[in-house]
């Protein structure tokens, strides 16, 4: 099982942001995406997740293998922590097991998500990855708002996922202390040009 990205170009808002991105990610490995704000980390992750079409190049990954954690958590404020998590577990056809415990949320299980602090919400959002049971984790700045302890906790969770044969692609400005390759997206910044054949042929 391997995630292969070859010569990928991605666009955002009609502008090509990245081009020529190539890498391979084997089972059990993590890849950290680096790059300053606006480098295109989110764009790349969304493209790999299949949320937007690639402008060029190829992505090959096993079918149904992606679990994506975006900037936004997808939590419903009126549902409790447990209900939120159970919903996603059902979507993926699985149970929640001891996930809340593992994310250190056991004491907050019955509190509506709107009454969680920023960091608690984030932990709950990340718990979704554990119930998805998918091998490829796409993580977009997962540790935003987390305190040091929670960062370490989450790093442990990722490590466990890798040890079980998963893969992780992590965009982050914070050092998670993962043993991982690093891909600096600055190297793939596209020369400024417009996406889509039409405008480009024309302008």
């Amino acid at each position: 099982m391997e995630l292969i990205v070859e010569n990928l170009s991605c666009a955002r808002g009609g502008v090509i942001v990245l081009e020529g991105v190539s890498f391979r990610l084997a089972a059990g490995r993590a890849l950290v995406l680096r790059g300053p704000n606006g480098a295109g980390k989110t764009t790349l992750l969304r493209t790999i997740a299949g949320l937007q079409p690639a402008e060029g190049g190829a992505i090959s990954l096993p079918p149904d293998s992606i679990a994506y954690a975006a900037h936004a958590d997808g939590l419903k404020p009126t549902l409790t922590a447990r209900e939120n998590l159970t919903f996603w577990a059902d979507i993926y056809g699985r149970g929640i097991g001891d996930t809340l415990d593992r994310m250190n949320l056991a004491g907050l299980a019955d509190r509506p998500a709107m009454n969680l602090s920023a960091g608690q919400k984030r932990r709950l959002g990340l718990a979704r990855l554990l119930v998805a049971g998918r091998p490829v984790w796409l993580l977009d700045e997962p540790t935003v708002s987390l305190d040091a302890e929670a960062v370490a906790l989450f790093a442990g969770v990722v490590q466990g996922h890798l040890a079980a044969g998963g893969m992780a692609l992590v965009a982050t400005h914070i050092n998670l202390g993962l043993e991982a390759d690093v891909l600096d997206l600055s190297a793939f910044r596209a020369r400024p040009r417009i996406a889509g054949g039409f405008d480009e042929a024309f302008a």
């Binding site: 299949g50 949320l51 992606i66 994506y68 975006a70 419903k76 549902l79 979507i91």
Partner: protein, 217 residues
């Protein structure tokens, strides 16, 4: 998909929205129209089936922007799009949830409101026409909501897009109700209403799913 349906219903109830409010709106229309138009019973009885249908349509319309907007804003829609459920299923479930929360209660409550609007009889047909027609309203509305999900709160744009699409349903639905009330033969409009609902439910999920996918990228 059942999980999604249950979640949506639960959210509708928790949001303080849910079953009660669609109904309440319907009730208010039934109250406001006599206030605006004047209280003569004969006049009210004549316009009652039409007004109740227009009211049901507006009650549906008012709640359409909830269908996708919240899920879009908090990121769930992106996450659902990467989940094992096909987008067609998501869309169909959303329409079903909307109907359960809005259309079904309206159909059940209609006979009571008809009494308020001085309608002498035919309440059963009114309820049947609503029960048969509102699924189409929910499905068409979901399609409209899918078209506008990317736009920042296109509430009124949504209304503008959806209302012309509602016209055939409204005409046949109100016709069934009116004929039911006056005791006329109503086989043709009834069949047409059923056909519209069937067609909408069978085909629109695909168009709506396409629109959502386009809007997400």
């Amino acid at each position: 998909m059942i999980a999604l349906l249950l979640r949506d219903l639960r959210l509708a109830i928790r949001a303080g929205g849910g079953f009660g409010l669609g109904l309440a709106f319907f009730l208010l229309v039934a109250v406001l129209v006599p206030l605006g138009v004047g209280p003569e019973p004969a006049l009210l009885a004549r316009i009652a089936p039409g007004i109740l249908w227009v009211g049901a349509l507006l009650a549906c319309l008012l709640s359409l922007d909830r269908i996708f907007a919240l899920d879009r804003e908090d990121g769930s829609l992106d996450l659902l799009a990467t989940s094992p459920i096909p987008m067609e299923g998501v869309v169909a479930v959303k329409a079903l949830a909307h109907w359960l929360v809005t259309g079904l209660p309206l159909a059940l409550a209609a006979p009571g409101l008809a009494v308020m609007l001085q309608l002498p009889g035919g309440h059963g047909w009114l309820a049947i026409s609503l029960a048969l027609g509102t699924p189409a309203l929910s499905m068409i509305g979901t399609f409209g909501a899918a078209l506008t999900v990317g736009l920042k709160r296109g509430g009124l744009l949504l209304s503008l897009l959806v209302l012309p699409l509602y016209v055939p349903t409204l005409i046949f639905g109100a016709e069934v109700a009116r004929r039911g009330v006056t005791g006329m033969e109503l086989g043709t409009p009834l069949a047409l209403l059923a056909a519209i609902t069937g067609g909408a439910v069978a085909l629109l999920p695909f168009a709506a799913a396409l629109a959502v996918r386009i809007n997400l990228r």
